[in-house]
Amino acid sequence: MKRIFAVALGILTAIGGFLDIGDMVTNAVVGSRFGLSLAWVVVLGVGGICVFAQMSGRVAAVSGRATFELIRERLGPRAALANLGASFLINLMTVTAEIGGVALALELASSVSYVLWVPFAGLAVWLVVWRVRFSLLENVTGLLGLSLIGFAVALFLLHPSWLDLGRQALQQVEFSDEKASTYWYYAIALFGAAMTPYEVFFFSSGAVEEGWKSKDLNQSRANVIVGFPLGGVLSIALAGCAAVVLLPQSIQVSTLGQLMLPIAVAAGKLLVAVVLLGVVAATFGAALETTLSSGYTLAQFFGWSWGKFRRPVQAARFHLVMIVVVIVGVGVLFTGVDPVLVTELSVVFSAIALPLTYIPILIIANDPQYMGKLVNGRFTGAVAVCYLGVILAASLAAIPLMIITGAGR
């Protein structure tokens, strides 16, 4: 019985943990402009994150080392430094977006101004990172994030034409005022939102934090292969809500309020409150994960002592980095920049940096020096190499498309 509970907990946490402000905003924007015609990207992205999260979890369980620890020794300091630089900056952007997202959601829930929530959210993120045990942190935010099921509920309550939605998803329906270049720009953004680099570093460091061994791999496989796709389903449901309510009205999502509008239309204030709880939890959880990721990557590159399993004084520089990251994030938000805009940019930059993140994982997961006999099997290896092609294509196309479409305007 206890085993079933543990398995369920892992899966549920993965569902709630999959969604962050990047997924939510991007799916809402895409739904309001393109309907479900980009749903295939979510499927592709979920497949990709499953493959790579699994690989990096396996690396951590078998070698006992987190992925970024191995990147420097396997690929050399130059490549690792480039990777670190890009990952750290994008992480910083993502932390800023997530803290902003928490503040926005709290503003919606309370009518207290967003600006007042920002430092509160930042402080809360830091306090949890400082004092709360890793597993507790993961489980609480993951479970509360499940309230986002409200989007799926809302979609049903909206009585959409499933046929229409299906046609959007399967055929490329023409949206007369959108160009093909914008379509592909948002495809890349959605891909970056699903395959967030920080997830992989967090996942593998978390595996070390929780002391996973090879025997825990099946559990992690279940979490990932069941949890992430279900999270993807919720993403698509979110896009579906926007497609049904906002697209016909030509309302393009640019605020959190608009994102929540379909829920209000479907079921009124109660469901809005429930879903807002989910938004706060999922975004807060993602803020914790990205903050920890910043600490993990920097500490692991330099060989510093790290980990929430250690007392802060035993991992002093690791904690200092995270304090600085939160302060910078809060500081950036104080300049009045729109967190939704930061979010939209962070997912595209994530897509650009994906090859830097994933190529090393692929190399390490294939190296018998770290993996023994548990190197990538033929099937996993083939799938991973295919994804590498997709990741490279997305990364290379991102900047030209960003310029051509003016970042999707």
Binding site: N366, Q369, Y370, G381
Partner: protein, 119 residues
């Protein structure tokens, strides 16, 4: 001197031969004794075609992931080892070998690093 003085330096015999991509040390004694025995510089690994870090692919027989391994093996084709005794001079950015130096294979069959054991 420090290692970076040697890594990447151009190696000359009678003509340019390549660049140093690694430096090989030999332990004087058994590495299972504690502490580690002294380590003597054994030789330099020279690659005629590239300066870049080899990612270890050419020194062992790892062949996957396929495209990257193929690229690395190709970049480091014809790497060879020269021993300390064949080094005539170490100058800034340049290493001169003695005439008639011997090229050894860079292949490493068994190093001092123990085989990792996995559960």
């Amino acid at each position: 001197m420090i290692l970076s003085d040697l890594l990447g330096a151009e190696v000359y015999g009678e003509e340019p031969l390549g660049h140093v991509t690694d430096v090989r040390f030999v332990l004087e004694g058994d590495s299972s004794n504690q502490p580690m025995p002294r380590a003597r510089l054994h030789g330099l690994i020279v690659s005629p075609h590239t300066k870049s870090s080899p990612l270890g692919f050419e020194r062992t027989e790892i062949r996957s992931p396929w495209p990257i391994a193929q690229l690395e093996h190709w970049l480091h084709r014809d790497s060879f080892l020269v021993l300390w005794a064949d080094i005539a001079a170490i100058l800034p950015e340049r290493i001169q070998l003695r005439p008639g130096f011997t090229r050894y294979s860079a292949l490493l069959v068994k190093s001092a690093v123990p085989e990792p054991h996995f559960e």
